[in-house]
């Protein structure tokens, strides 16, 4: 009986340690760092014929990318969400600020870039 209890205790301890290790692997206290936010175009025509491709390069663990613009359309083009395509309908002509927000459990950082939509 004692042997069973000892085995259960050891198993539980190992289980707890392994879970804790797993959690620690997902938790980071380091704030992400955006190395660069680039676009292959600074000016695009309205419509879908000449989209701009944007890339947000960041350092850190378990990064989540969120993109934002007030008017215009962003489409994620890679698996981790660090690259998008930007197009806009005629309504949205003018200078647009596109933001890339990168976050993990350590914090969140934001970088922005401007693209002008012309006729």
């Amino acid at each position: 009986m004692k042997a069973i209890r000892l085995a259960l205790a050891i198993f539980s301890l190992v289980f707890i340690i392994s879970c804790d290790k797993e959690n620690k692997e997902n938790i980071t206290t380091e704030i992400p760092e955006i190395i660069s936010l680039t676009s292959d175009k600074t000016e695009i025509k309205y419509g879908a014929s000449e989209p701009a491709k944007l890339k947000c390069t960041a350092l850190g663990d378990n990064l989540k990318y969120v993109w934002e613009v007030d008017f215009g359309d962003l489409f994620v083009i890679n698996t981790d969400g660090s690259e998008v395509q930007f197009t806009a309908s005629p309504c949205c002509m003018g200078k647009k600020t596109i933001r890339c927000k990168v976050s993990n459990s350590g914090g969140k950082v934001t970088e922005s870039i401007e693209i002008t939509i012309v006729e």
């Binding site: 419509g47 934002e68 008017f71 197009t87 005629p90 309504c91 949205c92 002509m93």
Partner: protein
Amino acid sequence: MEIMRNLLFTIFISIYFINASHAQCCSAGNPATNNGVLGTSKNVLNVSSSVIHSYSDTYYEGNQPTDWNYLKNMRFNFAMLNFEYGLTNKIKLTSEIGYFIDKSLRYGFIDQKRKAYGLGDVVVGIQHHLYNNKTRMLNVFPGLKLSLPVGAFDQMDGNIILPVDIQPSSGSLKMSTSLLITKQFIESKFTTSSFFSSEFSQKINTERTNYKYGNLYRINFKVGYQPSGKTVLGISLNFQHRDKAQNRGEIMEYTGGTYLNLQPSISHTIKQIYTLNTFVGIPIYKNVNGIQLTNKYVLGFGISRSFHLKTFKPQITPNIL
């Protein structure tokens, strides 16, 4: 007298306007509606619930259709709850809350769509029965409404925060003034009403955007015909003009325009308590600035009921104190 009141309810409860130009650009928030219910007496609460479906799929350049292909379509299903309370026999308080069951757009150049849902804006207002000429059967009702952006304005689709124009809430405080004029005819089954309104929005000034909706001006003219005591057939002509919007202090040239739509409607009263309303909005003229996606049709269905609230007398008379 009671029959006359019910008749008034039936006639005016059908004064229900909706603007069909709630299409693509720069028109987030609740669709512009005006439920010109009259006849709400003191301590009478009128509750109405409605569902509105709107579909847009045609690009216009000026006043002509164009084969421009960017969005394939845009549509929404919107549920609305209205409360109207007669504070006095002349003053009525109104409130409106709306929820987008589905607000979505589909792109024409890529097989993707965006979808939003959630609470729109909350509207509170006051309407005054300013003028009543019983001989001429003419009534005038000025009103004031305030639209509060309490709903969702930061909805996401995957890694993308949705653009302003598809968010359920307008994100902007709006004020609208209105004037409703109604005219009935002695021993006639016809009634007419005119509705004028203007809406002004406050600039949205956040990290995300610096944007101001164009002012909105509306004129509606409606003729109602009552073939029986319970049913009212109506047809209204709705004119709307929206000024160009502004973004970061610059005018957005391809926003705003002038629209005219025809709106047949039917109202039917059941057991003198419930009133069912249904309408369809059909655009008959559009003249947009630049190129814009425009509305194809709007459908609406609603039900309303009035409650006579009791007035409670104070339990302690002032003489005792």
